[in-house]
Amino acid sequence: MRRVVVTGIGVISALGRDRESFQKALHEGQCGIARIKGVENYDLRFSNGAEVKCYDPLEHFEPKTADMIDRFAQLAVVAAREAVCQSGIEWTRELRETSAIVTGSCVGGQATENQGFYDVYKMGKTRVHPMTIPKTMANAGASAISLEYGITGPAFTISTACSSSAHAIGQAFSLVRSGMSEVALTGGSEAPFSHGILKAWEAMRVVSPTVCRPFSKDRNGMILGEGAAMLVLESFDHALARGAKPIAELVGFGMSSDAHHITQPSAEGAAKAVRMALQCGGIAPEQIGYVNAHGTGTTVNDITETTALHLAFGDHAKHLAISSTKAMHGHTLGAAGAIESAATILALSTGILPPTIHFNECDPECDLDYIPNCPREADIEYGISNSFAFGGLNAVLVWRRV
């Protein structure tokens, strides 16, 4: 088995349109949540979201290209460009032929689909735009990245709701670890703001009317977010041979299915994914210092995740520094695992752990250290990123500082 390292990170989110602004916001505990501007949400019970601000497609794409790909796929390409740029990879013919692209997305180009259906059902039009299908497909991000670089190796997309991009990174990890590919571009993207989707989230009654307060006793739900994060994964030897500087090592990946309930999480299922990730990397629970929690800010998730951490880590759970960065960048669904992996890597590599902002009050049922409100300096070698999806599909990644 090969060692797998990260040599490039790209992020675009409510915390800014590049990695640097993302890192700065995490270190300062900034909040990216604001009143939703991209959708006329006059009849919703909530009005806040974590949108990417001041995003102009024409700053990133030729007008014709911008018309051909949905916002979620554009965000994937923007993040991929930043990651590739940082990695310093030069695309030789051989590398193009063998490199992999694995992306995650939950709802794909739903805004495009929403517009097409609105035209038909509401406006009585008899035709929708011919690009509706290729703009909507969940793999549009992977395909756009493939076209961008001329990469012809294994490329696919995983859709497992809020675990999508964690599962995607896990699959890319397997491809590089096994030697099938030397390099993989992997991560996820999401742009879930359209009237129809927001109404569907409203109906589930899990969205906060205010802000996301993970693990705080007065938490009242999640905040939807959009964005993308992409990583360049590379075999350690390949990175070394071309003189690249690894930022972090991906040492373990675990996944499980709750087989419990379509929306209610299971502590045992989540704990199993954590245990499997540690086992995969040959890591003892006591070696983990930081947890980037799934931490959605719903009543049930945060209690269940706390229980899961107790189950997986035993006595060591109380020594873990845990934060949910969703309070800052929102719940980006299929991009969450990638954006939060980026946050985890940056926390380990800079020695500054992002806080759980908007934390007001301890909950007796959430009895661990959630790094409330203030970032914390810490010298930590190993951290995990948790993703627990609706449908009970769990994915956990173990990252190591290098």
Binding site: R45, A203, M204, R205, P209, N220, G221, H261, I262, T263, Q264, T299, V300
Partner: protein, 91 residues
């Protein structure tokens, strides 16, 4: 729509909706049941409230949905919301 406030009719309509949404025999759903006894979890509760909102043209706040855990409270909550809907505007 004063007939909506007839307690017995209202109760029966709500019991019927609970039974229909949960695909249960109506005879097994009574006003004295807790949601736990009926095997109704939080997502089921959200689904029932969706049906009740459509049936009675009311809007149930998120917080109310979280707090209701038995049939009697649900009937009471719906009755209150219908009364509020029917009340003449005060300003």
């Amino acid at each position: 729509m004063a007939e909506d406030l007839n307690q017995e009719d209202l109760t029966q309509r709500i019991l019927r909706i609970i039974a229909e949404t949960q695909r249960k025999d109506p005879a097994t759903v009574t006003i004295d049941n807790s949601f736990e006894e009926l095997g109704i979890d939080s997502m089921d509760g959200v689904n029932i409230v969706f049906a009740l909102e459509n049936e009675f043209d009311i809007n149930v706040p998120d917080e109310e949905v979280k707090n209701i855990r038995n049939v009697r409270d649900m009937v009471e909550g719906v009755r209150t919301l219908i009364a509020q809907r029917n009340a003449p505007a005060t300003s």
